[in-house]
Symmetry: C2
């Protein structure tokens, strides 16, 4: 059994703050500052250039990739860390397109995170006609997968509503139609058990600064299914994806398997922070996490339904159909969220009317959910506070 | 006058090590650990998601870009930091190509850093025929610039030999032929005064982990000339380059000027380290640096010529024709470099026979050059040491 008391104790959370925005940026693991201090003083400071081999920096993208791989159900050796999620989306899309010659449609849905769509637009502009980005309604996505589609680009959990796509079903349909699928796991990795291998995903990408708690600007990751790994064409063919980077050849030869998805020099400080963050994850069972996440999100839905008239649930009630966030539509959502934040309950707002709360069992429990909803209910009833700062909340409420 | 005694005191260098590899990875500035500690504990730890605005993280790529801009002679507001150098090469190349419709040749030289060539290859493969990467001999590059050339891609200072291209002359020739130029400043930024604006460069890119000392995996930068800034087509059209990233529109609209060269979430920890590193640079006059760099590199050439038979200079003697490194060809270069490193003199080796030494006046002076060459000379004379580790060198020599 995962010990969520232990996990909670691994994070630094500001006094008096109820942090329900771990789906945007996770909090600081207590072990991270010492890890960075060690990287700076003992590794970079003392080893300098020899740190690349001597301290294992060069291998970190693969080593960390494997640790993330466990959380998303990947085969060992098929995930690599680096760059940003947008870059990884581009790599996956370009490689997936090249696997389906003769087809020119990238299909996504209007609920996808905009940067995914923008990167697809940029790629398509470069490739020129007849390449095309087609968007379906999220609820009509499965029907929109036709034999014209080359690549399906889907974010499993919708960043606004928390609605979750059925990865296995969409992938099956896509494969039946001869298409390849790129899964964006930005709101899945660390939020729920993912099974990229069992679900037959072709490519998957994700970020590590949300549920994985690796800090602001933490690197992304990419998974390529073993059956594609040695065929995937790297559009961003940087030297660290070369078969022999330090041979300094004049022509590119892709490295073996997932190695070819590396591009340039990896961000060692951000990777060290990711390493510290993953130490916590190594002691988390994903099934336990999911059970607790569902209990907490259900509790929040129930409490809001009870105590917060005017808010309507934007997240599906059905357990299988949602991730680890709860979103509500509310006409005055922006103002209500500002008031909440002012009182130390940190969620966020997404236009036009979505109040969004990330529920992260590693450091959030029933008590916080109760207290957050109670404060929200008081705000809705018109309560005001003399002292706006959350630091004072504990004394006031 | 730049106080190089002061600058030297700003760096941590391991006891007994003579570090002549700052052209690969600069050493740790003493101020960096405290800056990172503050970022982690006070910013990320206490501000969490609100750090993006409250701590200025979102603006760092531009703010740091301007500080680098001073070192490379850029107009304020036209440099932005992010990603890796390979990614920035790709962005610059794609944007430059789009500015020259009807032409399909990217011209570079065989001395360019392989990753630049690889990224060009990847882009060309995506674009398909008739796009083409053409390589000239470095010394015949100017003549190879014809009216067929769309984009000239050049690294100013050769990573192996330290030979420096004439930026103004090559750019003039390229412009006369109707081509655009992308300058890679990997071995220029912080190594010598660069004048991208005065030299009429169209695009410039560079990294910050070499002469700028921002640490392993530090981010890259990109400069777009003001005349192109609002025309440049961003191939890697990520959300942070969007005109209004937080409007979450479904279609991409490029941000104003250099903003569109941003892609995904920037690496805040690496940027904080860059910020600390640039504090030193703010007190460096680039003309002073260049004078001192030339004096030190000349001294090294003279001493090696005198004391190290068998080594032949691979770097041009002429001051204008070289950067801030000195390279020698030597049949037994690999072994000699291993022996040097073993004795605490850290340079590096590039196949087939190049011994490479970075000379960085911020923390290297005459004494280190004398001592390094003396140890090299002893190695060449067949000296051996009982104690191989550099920590013991001070006692032995």
């Amino acid at each position: 059994m995962t010990d969520f008391g232990w996990t909670r104790d691994q994070f630094h959370l500001p006094m008096g703050m109820i942090y329900l925005d771990g789906n945007s940026l996770g909090p600081l693991p207590k072990a991270t500052p010492a890890r960075l201090e060690r990287l700076l003083s003992e590794e970079w400071g003392e080893q300098l250039i020899s740190g690349w081999n001597g301290c294992g920096w060069m291998e970190m993208p693969r080593r960390l990739g494997d640790r993330i791989g466990r959380l998303i159900g990947a085969e060992p050796g098929h995930v690599v860390v680096g760059d940003t999620l947008s870059i990884k989306v581009y790599q996956a899309l370009a490689a997936a397109l090249a696997l389906v010659p003769g087809r020119h449609v990238i299909l996504s849905d209007t609920g996808n995170f905009p940067s995914d769509l923008y990167m697809a637009e940029g790629l398509i502009k470069l490739l020129g006609a007849p390449y095309e980005l087609r968007l379906a309604d999220p609820l009509a996505l499965e029907e929109a997968i036709t034999e014209e589609v080359a690549v399906l680009l889907v974010t499993e959990v919708d960043y606004r509503t928390g609605r979750r796509h059925d990865m296995a079903a969409l992938t099956r349909k896509a494969h039946r139609m001869g298409a390849r699928v790129v899964w964006d796991l930005a709101h899945s990795a660390g939020a729920l058990p993912v099974e990229v291998a069992a679900g037959a995903a072709d490519f998957a990408v994700g970020c590590t600064y949300k549920y994985l708690n690796a800090g602001p600007g933490a690197p992304a990751f990419i998974y390529v299914a073993p059956r594609h790994a040695d065929l995937a064409e790297p559009a961003l063919s940087g030297w660290l994806g070369h078969e022999a980077p330090f041979a300094f050849d004049q022509s590119y030869r892709p490295g073996a398997g997932i190695e070819r998805m590396r591009v340039g020099t990896p961000p060692v400080m951000q990777m060290a922070a990711l390493e510290a963050a993953l130490d916590v994850w190594d002691r988390v069972n994903m099934a336990d996490l999911r059970r607790r996440s569902l209990d907490l999100t259900t509790l929040m839905m129930d409490l809001v339904e009870d105590q917060c008239p005017g808010l309507s649930l934007a997240t599906p009630r059905e357990e299988e159909a949602r991730g680890s966030q709860v979103s509500f539509r509310f006409e005055h959502g922006y103002a209500a969220m500002q008031a909440l934040i002012d009182q130390g309950v940190v969620g966020d707002f997404r236009a036009p009317d979505i109040m969004r709360f990330g529920v992260t069992p590693l450091y959030i429990g029933e008590e916080e959910i109760h207290e957050a909803v109670e404060i929200l209910a008081r705000i809705l009833r018109g309560a005001t506070w003399d002292q706006p700062k959350y630091q004072q909340r504990k004394r006031v409420t």
